[in-house]
C-alpha cells in the first residue's frame, strides 16, 4: 500500500478529553472505569491525536464503511485511552481493540446497521462499481480472513501484528491470507466471467 495514510476525513472533531468519561465495563451494571486525573487526560489527548487516523483507517479496512469505522475507532480509542497508564504497548493494544470491536460489529452488524440507519442516510448509496464489487467480495469472507487480507494488503500490518491482533499464530495468518485472497479472487473472477459472457 502506498504509505500515505488515508486522510482523516469525517465529522469527528478533535474534541478535548479533559473531562470525565465513562468507559466500557465488565459484566455488571453501571460504568466501570475512570480516567481520573488531568494528566491522564492530557496523555490521552496526545494518544488520541496520534492514533486517530490510523484507527479509523484500520476500521475502514475491517468494516468497509467510513462512518462505522469512525465510530468503532472512536470507541476503541476511548477504551484504550482509559487504560493508557496501565498498558505497555498502547499502539498494539489499540490494534487489537480495533480488530475486536470490528469483530463484534460483524457479529451484530445487522442490528447495528439498523441503529445507524439515520446517521448514514446522507451518504452515497454506491461507490464505483469496482469498489462495490470488492466490498461485496470482502463481505463474503469469514471475519478473520477479511481482517488478515485487508490489514496485510491495505493497512500494511506485518503477519506478527495481525497474529497478535487476531490472537493466533503467524502461520495461521499466512493461511488466512492465502485462503482470503483466493476467495476474493474467486468472487471477482466470477463477476468478471459473467461480465464477459456474450449476450444470448
Amino acid at each position: 500500500m502506498d504509505d500515505a495514510a488515508p486522510e482523516p476525513h469525517g465529522v469527528s472533531p478533535e474534541v478535548g478529553f479533559n473531562r470525565v468519561t465513562l468507559v466500557p465495563g465488565d459484566q455488571h451494571v453501571g460504568p466501570s472505569s475512570v480516567r481520573p486525573t488531568s494528566s491522564d487526560f492530557q496523555n490521552f489527548d496526545d494518544f488520541y491525536r496520534a492514533h486517530r487516523a490510523d484507527a479509523v483507517s484500520w476500521a475502514v479496512a475491517l468494516v468497509g464503511d467510513r462512518f462505522i469505522a469512525e465510530e468503532l475507532a472512536q470507541d476503541a480509542l476511548a477504551a484504550v485511552g482509559a487504560k493508557l497508564h496501565t498498558i505497555d504497548n498502547p499502539s498494539g493494544y489499540l490494534r487489537r481493540t480495533v480488530v475486536n470491536r470490528a469483530a463484534s460489529w460483524h457479529r451484530s452488524h445487522a442490528r447495528e446497521l439498523k441503529r445507524i440507519r439515520y446517521a448514514s442516510a446522507g451518504e452515497p448509496t454506491a461507490y464505483t462499481a469496482e469498489t462495490t464489487e470488492m466490498l461485496q467480495a470482502l463481505t463474503s469472507l469469514p471475519y478473520k480472513q477479511r481482517a488478515a487480507v485487508t490489514l496485510r494488503y491495505w493497512s500494511d500490518w506485518t503477519d506478527d501484528q495481525i497474529a497478535e491482533a487476531l490472537d493466533c499464530a503467524p502461520a495461521t495468518v499466512r493461511v488466512l491470507l492465502h485462503r482470503g485472497l483466493a476467495a476474493v479472487k474467486g468472487e471477482l473472477q466470477r463477476e468478471l466471467d459473467q461480465a464477459q459472457e456474450p449476450p444470448r
Binding site: 502506498d2 495514510a5 486522510e7 482523516p8 476525513h9 469525517g10 465529522v11 469527528s12 472533531p13 478533535e14 478535548g16 473531562r19 470525565v20 468519561t21 465513562l22 468507559v23 466500557p24 465495563g25 459484566q27 455488571h28 451494571v29 453501571g30 460504568p31 466501570s32 472505569s33 481520573p36 487516523a53 483507517s57 468497509g64 467510513r66 469512525e70 472512536q74 470507541d75 476511548a78 477504551a79 475486536n100 470491536r101 463484534s104 460489529w105 441503529r115 439515520y118 446517521a119 442516510a121 446522507g122 451518504e123 454506491a126 461507490y127 469496482e130 469498489t131 470488492m134 466490498l135 470482502l138 494488503y153 491495505w154 485472497l181 476474493v184 479472487k185 471477482l188 468478471l192 464477459q196
Partner: protein
Amino acid sequence: MNSPTTLTDEAVITRLRRALDEVAAAATDLGNDAPSNASGEAGRTEPFQVVTRRPTGRATRGRATTMLGVAAACTALVSGALVALSQRAPSPTDLAADPPDATVFVPDTAAPAASEPSFTLAAANLVPGEITRPPQFPADGEPLFQTWSVAGDNGSGFLFATIYSNRPDDQPEAAAGGAVEEVLSGVPDGRAWLVTSAPQADAPAQGSLWWSRPDGSVWVFDEQGLSSTPQLGGWFDVVFGAQPGSGVPIVLPDTSATLISVGVAARTIVTQRFTGASAGPSIGTADLTVSDGAAAPTALIGATTVTPVTVAGGAGWKGVFPDGHVAVVWPVGSGWWGLLGISPELAAQADGIITGIARVDTAIPATPVAPPTDPQEYLVVGSIVEASPGQFVVEVPTADESVAALSLRGFSWDAVPDEAVDDVGVVRTGPYALVVRAYSDRGAEFVSITGPRVVNEPRDPCIFDNGPYPFDALNDIDITSLGVVGYDAQLNTDGTCDRLVVWAYVDTPGLRAALDPLADQVELQFLLTPV
C-alpha cells in the same frame, strides 16, 4: 472471440487497495451529496467536482467579528467564504449572475419538515420566537466549501476553503480600509494574493488568501487560530501544498488536518430566535439554526478562541468573538449543521444555553420543554443527599458523592458505594453541579445545566459484544442525539442481557419519550460532574 481475463493476485490486491482508498476517502459529511429535502427529493450523488453555477446571493459578508447571532451565521451559510468576492467590485458578469433578492425573509411558523433535523432550546430565561425559513437560490457559479480542523505545527484551528471554477485572472480588490498584496514566493503555480480586511477597534485585521490557479479556478482560504498574522511559513505552507483531489475538491498535505465539511452552500436554513426574558433595553438573543450548507463552519472565522463543546449529545465548537458574541457550530449528520448565535448580552450564559439544546426530530416526537419560571430556585451545586419523587435535597459541600438515578417510573435517588463512585469517575472532591434536568410528576422542572464535561463517547460496547439482547426498540432510536452517554447491561451467562442502564448526560423529553416503552426494563441514570 476474446480470451477470458484471469485475475492475478497482484490485480486483486491493487483493486483491494483502490477500493479501500475510495471508502476511506469518503467524507462523513457529504455536503455536496445534498440530503433529501423537505419534499423528499433524493439528494444528489455525483462525485465532488468544481461546479459551474451562478453565485448564491451576493450578500456582503462582513468579517465574522461583526457577526451577531444567527443572522450572521446565516450570512456565513449563504455566502460562506464569499468574503473575498465581497472585497472587490462586482464585475458585469457578476451582476448579470446575481440571483433574485435572497434577503427577503419569509417567516414560516411551521415546524421543520420531518426530513430536517430539528432542535429546541430549553433555557431558563429565553423566550422562543417564530421559526423563519428564508428562501435559498442555488445558482450557477456557486462555489464549493471545504473546512478542516487542523492541529499541528502550524497551530490548532480551522482552515476554510472556497472553491470557484472558471475564474481566470480573478484578482481580488481590497475593501475599504483593507489591502491586497500579491504573494510572490511560495506559490507553486498561478498567482496568489493576501486580502486583508480593515482592522477594527476590537479585532485585528484578518487575511484571506486568494490563489488563482492555472486551470482557471480560484481557491480562497481563510483560517481561524492558525496564525494571528498570516505570513509565509505558517498556514500558507499548508495552503500552497494543497492539490486537487479525486474524491474531494482539495486535498491538504497536512496529516493533522481533518476534513469536517465539504459541499455547496445551504439549500435550507431554518432558524428560531430566542429572546432574553429579562427586562431592559439589552435583552439579547440566541438564534438556533439548522442548515444543510457546507459553509456552516465558516461562522467560526474571526473567532478569538474556539473550544470544543458538546451540543445535544454530539461534538461541536464554540467560537468567542472580539465583539463578545458567541457562535456555536456542530455537525448534525447527513450534511446538516446546527448553528447557535448568541449575542454579547447573553454571552456569559453561553455554556448553559448550549447545554439546553436538545434534538427533537426523533422517531418518537418529543414534548416541548417549558422554561422554568425561576431557574435560580433550582440551581444546585453540591451533592444530592436526599431525594423523593419529584424533588431532592442537596448539601454544599459534602463528602458524600452520589449519582442521581431517575427511573422512568419516578424520580428516586440511590446512594452509590464508594467503589462504584470510583468506577463512575466522580472525583472525590467537590463541589459538583448536577447537570441534568429532572422532571417531577407535575411536569418539567429545571434543575441545572452547567458546563458539560462528559460527551457521548464512549458508548458502552457490552451490548455490541455480547450477542443478542432484548431491547431491539433501541435500534430504532437515534439514541446518541438524545444526549445518551452510554449504556450498559446486566449480562447473563449466555450473553444475553436482561436489564439495561442508559447513562445520560442531560435528560431530554425526547430521551424520556424514546425510552418510555421500555420503562420496566430500562433504568435511566444521570451523571454528576465536578465543577
